[in-house]
Assembly symmetry: D3
């Protein structure tokens, strides 16, 4: 199976790391290909950024289908462009939120998200409402750190741990990392929490997304045409 990852920002800062990370949990017969977008924002932290990135994301998804890929992962927690893109192709398209939220709902009854910035919290709340499982979300916490400052893994881990502990105290039974830029930390965090006697699974949204695409492709499933019909033909000016 051939999957394309669309990293929907104009920097390739995360590309290498994504490939490396994905290599650890993809199936052996899954081939991964990563592309960036050329126009759009340097990172996605607002509805405005999502809006700017979406048209280029959809182009990339349409191209992926033409290029023969079996599925596309739009590598951003906010699922930008994902729903519009589904209207244009028949191969499965996932962002990071839906797979992570659904996976968390299987391994735990109630879970929390830990994301980058307080400004992103309302966006995540909306995603939960749209997916129909707000009842499972204990809280949406943040580490008060922009996406482009996630590089220092030591600092990042410390900030995440602090929020994860608060989430567990609030009743979270699992944690969803609320940004696909928080790479390579899920298992470390889970281990550290375990050593503190508060073992809690930490869902890496990238892992969940790739796993969900593999599930869909192998099951020969894709998004519903009743939910995502092709847009009617009409004049569209660019």
């Amino acid at each position: 199976m051939k999957l394309r990852i669309v990293v929907p920002i104009i920097t390739d800062l995360f590309n290498q790391e994504v490939v490396k990370e994905v290599a650890q949990f993809k199936a052996p017969d899954t081939e991964i290909d990563v592309v960036n977008i050329v126009r759009g924002p340097a990172s996605i932290e607002s509805r405005y950024d999502e809006m700017l990135a979406s048209p280029v994301i959809v182009e990339k998804v349409v191209q992926a289908e033409k290029d023969g890929f079996d599925g596309v992962f739009v590598d951003c927690f906010g699922d930008p462009g994902v729903h519009a893109a589904r209207e244009m192709v028949r191969i499965p398209v996932v962002g990071a939120f839906q797979p992570a939220a659904l996976t968390a709902s299987l391994i735990a009854g109630r879970w929390s998200v830990v994301t980058v910035l307080k400004s992103v919290v309302p966006l995540v709340d909306d995603l939960g409402r749209k997916l129909g499982l707000s009842q499972n979300i204990v809280s949406i916490r943040d580490i008060d750190t922009p996406v482009l400052e996630l590089q220092d893994k030591g600092v990042l881990e410390k900030k995440l741990l602090a929020q994860i502990e608060l989430a567990v105290q609030e009743g979270a039974e699992a944690i969803v990392l609320g940004c696909t830029g928080m790479l390579g930390l899920a298992q470390t965090l889970e281990k550290t929490m375990g050593e503190k006697g508060r073992a809690v699974p930490v869902v890496d949204p990238t892992a969940a997304a790739i796993g969900f695409l593999e599930l869909l492709v192998r099951s020969k499933l894709s998004h519903s045409l009743l939910a995502y019909p092709y847009p009617p033909e009409k004049e569209r000016k660019f």
Copy 2:
């Protein structure tokens, strides 16, 4: 008060009618100005159309604030670009869904939407979930007619009546017209239903939107900066 209406399609087919309609229910000191978008779709009937229209809508909203307008109505039932636009300005911005849905929830306990096409139903369902009042929505029905074929008022009225009657049978206590292109019919429909002994209020989303903008401007209220913070500064390529 000066309000700008952004008709988010590349045709000015509805502009005249909108101005005429709004004149009937705006406050005497409200000045109305209508603009179209120059790039985007001829009509909005899918997430793809919404995505295409959104960046230009946001530009128009930002320009409206610069031009000294007190509020902006994005004249489309799906609220395209509204949430991203709110992040860029401090004047109130509304689409048609939120004002209509909230107005319906005041005048009735449970209500239905009658929209244009079955393909739009999932989009309206999402809007209801995001606004947190799905419990009030009895059904989302459609008249199986594209936006650009709503001109024949006789046919349109007949199709709407058929769906409104079904909605009332299902328990709807009010009706929301699910497209801002269904102009000038709300009161006629309400009257006809009354004559059939099934009086039901019909919410014209344009009327609700203008009324809500007037409410917000006079109350000196606008969208929350906590819910719609300005996007952080960063590189954004176009």
Copy 3:
């Protein structure tokens, strides 16, 4: 348009202030008239008070329709008598809760109420459930102060600020003042919060109510006859 405000308590303590406040945000062609009730409680802080006030409120609403008013605002946060009154008239009737809650749901995803007394909290919770948007309510907080002790604006402002800050910490993106006796403070509170770097819109329920009545009257909408049919004729002894 002529609107009547029914202040549903036997003191005219708030009348002057209400007129002054409403003058600031009503439309220029809206004429306001204020009346009190002659029997009933000195203030409304319990279901018992609401029950005592309701029959007189309904009389006043019926009289307002006979007097040619276009709409009535029952000036109390708990919407006392509003739903019964709607069964008796065809002009729009609003209390303060519904307009404020619906307005808050447009400008923010999740919001809190700050009301007078802990004993009122369950009543507000019920109002949210009935309106179908409990999901949007973060918390219902109180300032532990009876309605008739709200006169000292300095003390009141301080108490409100303390609760607003707690609400914002809990995730509230907007605040609804949970008593119509908290007059003239919404903008000051909003400004003070902004100066503290925690800008949050504060909904004055009186402003929202007048705005909603104007919206309804101009849109030629009123409560649904299917939701609020005239009570069947029968013997009723007084």
Copy 4:
């Protein structure tokens, strides 16, 4: 235990029948006493009727406590005056809706109400929302018959059966009779449905109410003072 039934209408049309009915399912040591109200409506079929009856109901409940009764049943499906009355006494007070709805939720996952008139449906919907278990209600159906025309048991039974069958088809696993005037029919209806191979329990709200009062009194429980505090002292004019 001494229980008082307040039949909140100005006719004693149902009193004898209520006493007879209750005798069949009360505990042997439960003494029943029935009173009417002297002012108010001939029957309760609207919010307006509920409002008119409530003050006299509360007087009767307060008197019952003074008279040494252990609990009060306000014998009407809409729970009129019940919540205000609870603020004035410490003995348990129930209407018919809450006990019936809670009992139905124990014996079935999802259930329907069959009530008298379509105009009552929105009131029942509100009661379900306030009690927090709307999710369990499949539908609220009506037999299009006013309370004061329920005397012909043959006709009544036939009309109820028709609606019960529709409710079962919709997925109802139990039925709640939505008016306390539908006396003495629950078991017959259940038996007839069983003979048709569609056995479904039918909850007589009067039976559920008496049973719940007995449960509360024997368990030494009553409504919470935190939910129903005594109204603060203040001037109240009549």
Copy 5:
């Protein structure tokens, strides 16, 4: 009426106490009979324990019906085996959760559970979801004490009080004791809370269960055959 209590653990540690407790609040004509199970766990604190106990519980319920009992109380807060047992008999069968949760929802708008161990919290959360009234549950707290260590009433009372106070601070208007082993304390706790000026009703789940059985038996109601049909005949190997 003859009721059988099935204490679903292999120790008779609680039997005497249960009989004594129930004697205080049962109706005079209710005869109580207590049995244990012979195989299964020493206490029930996990889904695994529930699973082990369930087959024997169902046997005991079936036997109770054969023995002519009118109803069965499965004396455990988690309702183990209750739903399977209902498929096998026509007499009413209740556990402790459903009666307690429904009773709490009548006497208060929102309430909390205080249970034994944190490990039980997810089980209680599930029970609330299944019963359709999660909206009424403020929190599920625990005293960090296994069932078999509840004997020291002094310590138990102290631990319960600490959690009850926290629950009331969170907004709970009533408390449900989340283990049927917390016998004989409900009224003491309620009294102590009242003396602290925080009067809150405390629901003893055993009292609620017996009361609900009496209600059902007297009302001639039992669980719905549509919700709990007899299992189809087929081969079943043991």
Copy 6:
């Protein structure tokens, strides 16, 4: 990866077919092993059957972990024994409902289940409530056919199609086959619906379950210890 499938019935009627079906959609490095249970019911169509099968299912899951398997699929739509089993092992354990329901929620906004018998409908409703996504379920329909009579694929397909068409008319955008005995039909049904112009994805719960296990194992995730702690040690008699 080595996955074990526990077919929780005493007949090996479905084993061969399961292996064949799974071969079509598993990853190339996934090894599948199928076992039956030796005690329990011939099929699972009631809570009683689930209860009988559960203890043996848990034994099999514990054995699978000892045998070095990486995950276990309990091959039944009702997830029997799954939650108890999770308390006893650290490898991921899934039934068929959770994976299918979560997959459907990603590919469609609202979906329906088509199951075997009306008697199973309340069980599926409960599963949806527990998983917290009832809002996404349009309806739970049945083909009125016991599990052991699903062998005639022609008849089965026809019956399923009839219900799927009704579900689509009700608004379902995807279909979940509500029994793991409906093997090998998902794609045929999807194709036939597509040919009728009503293309709708049909989720085979077996495919979803295997895919979810692969996702979990590759992501190094399993159920939360906070949600599924090991049962405390104590005496347990068999």
